[in-house]
């Protein structure tokens, strides 16, 4: 099976089939990443995901093989999310309300049979989402990449363009802050 990097190289050369394979591999994880980065706004996450792929494709000429593709793609997505936060008009819109009832249902396991369980799962997810959203941006980015996207420390360092030591420190601080929030909640 070709690696992401080999596929990206082929896309650089204008091969459409490899583009499809690359998108199939990363569409769902990237949507998940941006969904969490936007605090649980599915519609916004879908828009940003499409925009991230478009930007990646337009910048594919700048991709340098054999640099890892995944951090390169996530760097684009992270910058896109950051740009989004910076725009004043989006900061105070309805997106800030984060999870609506529909998206809470999205978060629940599709196999969940009981509405009450689904509601409870949605409530817990809302709590967690709210807490993650309260973290400083740089801690939230590192935390989402590590514990939701399962990127390695080196990959996160590449995506965020910081040393591995900084990634570790952001993760530790972020997790400690979350723990404090969870303790206060109890």
């Amino acid at each position: 099976m070709p690696t992401d990097e080999q596929l990206a190289l082929r896309v650089q050369q204008g091969h459409a089939s490899e583009l499809a394979e690359l998108v199939e591999r990363h569409h769902s994880p990237l949507l998940g990443f941006l969904y969490r980065m936007t605090g649980g706004d599915r519609a916004l996450a879908e828009d940003l995901t499409q925009e991230a792929f478009l930007r990646a494709l337009r910048a594919i000429g700048q991709y340098r093989y054999p640099r890892p593709f995944k951090p390169w793609l996530y760097a684009i997505a992270t910058n896109l999310a950051r740009d989004h936060y910076k725009r004043a008009e989006t900061r105070y819109t309805a997106h800030a309300a984060a999870l609506d009832d529909d998206s809470a249902m999205d978060m629940a396991d599709p196999d969940t049979p009981l509405p009450e369980e689904a509601w409870l799962a949605g409530a817990e997810a809302r709590h967690v989402a709210a807490m993650v959203k309260m973290l400083p941006d740089h801690q939230r980015e590192a935390l989402i990449l590590r514990y939701y996207q399962n990127l390695s420390l080196n990959e996160i360092a590449g995506a965020l363009d910081v040393p591995v030591g900084t990634v570790k420190s952001r993760l530790s601080l972020g997790l400690r802050r979350l723990r404090e929030m969870m303790e206060l909640e109890q």
Binding site: T3, D4, E5, Q6, L9, V11, Q12, Q13, G14, L19, A20, V23, E24, H27, S28, L31, G32, R36, E46, T49, F53, L54, L57, R58, I60, R64, Y65, P66, R67, P68, P71, S103, D106, M107, A108, D109, A121, E124, A125, V128, A129, L143, R146, Y147, Y148, S152, L153, N154, A157, G158, P163, V164, K168, L171, S172, L175, R176, L178, R179, M182
Partner: protein, 283 residues
């Protein structure tokens, strides 16, 4: 792993220890990460990926010519990437010393004596190869370790570049010498230095990977080859007692076999993760 711990718990614990550097802290933070998992993300709908691909296909770059494709194929790109990493002084120093060796050989040519070019070629290559691995060569080690290209392949690409360059300048110098002196045949001349060059380069490669010190490796190779040169030039009779004649035609099969073995051993050692981590500590 305790009985109550699932492999997933153990995996999470290992991850947290890597992140925090403390098993106690990992224990404290594990429930936080477990709770994070309750916030799941939606998956794209069944047609969403297909629509996205169709949208992106309109933006795909135009296909390139076969030559451009070849130039941007991954082995060539890997070599090009490593070309930027290998220290620039290696190329200039190798070319300069080889040119000097050629000029001295032409100026002092004698069919009966060992030719400086033959003695210089292996030394130049070995010194260059000694500097393809080490803290100075990899300032961006963290990014390199994150690449999917195995460290062995990276090392092999560097070896191919430096060895290939020295091979080309050695062949060019031999061609010039054979054209300048009608009595010198090209291929017999090349075969005189090629096997020692390969052996000494492989030895320098192994030493540099083993000691993680390019200067030490270059010095050891230089010293060993100085003894061999003394033997060839007949300057020190005692050297012949412990130093075999590496220029002899009978030594060539052994030198080739040893060169392959040493290079394979160096690649094996160089690709081991802990050696890269050891090097990181030297930064």
């Amino acid at each position: 792993m305790t009985q109550s711990q699932t492999p997933k718990d153990e995996e999470l614990r290992a991850k947290l220890i890597e992140d925090t550097g403390s098993p106690e802290e990992a224990e404290r933070l594990a429930p936080v990460v477990r709770r994070l998992q309750s916030w799941s993300a939606p998956k794209p709908g069944p047609t969403a990926t297909v629509k996205l691909i169709a949208r992106l296909e309109a933006e795909i770059p135009n296909p390139q010519s076969p030559i451009t494709n070849l130039l941007s194929s991954w082995p060539i790109l890997l070599l090009r990437a490593q070309l930027r990493v290998v220290r620039g002084e290696i190329w200039a120093a190798s070319a300069l010393v080889m040119t000097l060796g050629l000029l001295v050989t032409l100026a002092t040519y004698s069919a009966a004596e060992a030719w400086p070019l033959v003695l210089v070629a292996p030394l130049v290559a070995a010194t260059g190869v000694a500097f393809i691995y080490g803290p100075d060569v990899d300032p961006a080690l963290e990014i390199e370790l994150a690449t999917p290209v195995p460290p062995r392949l990276v090392l092999l690409a560097r070896l191919a570049l430096v060895f290939g360059f020295n091979l080309i300048i050695g062949l060019a110098a031999s061609l010039i010498l054979s054209l300048a002196r009608a009595e010198v045949a090209f291929w017999p001349l090349v075969s005189t230095w090629l096997a020692p060059l390969s052996f000494l380069s492989a030895l320098a490669f192994l030493l540099t990977v083993f000691t993680v010190n390019s200067t030490t490796s270059a010095m050891i190779s230089l010293l060993g080859w100085a003894f061999q040169s003394l033997r060839q030039l007949g300057g020190l009779k005692a050297v012949a007692w412990f130093m075999p004649d590496l220029m002899a035609a009978s030594a060539r099969p052994w030198l080739w076999a040893l060169a392959l073995l040493l290079a394979a051993l160096a690649l094996w050692l160089g690709g081991r993760e802990e050696r890269w981590l050891l090097r990181r500590e030297n930064f």
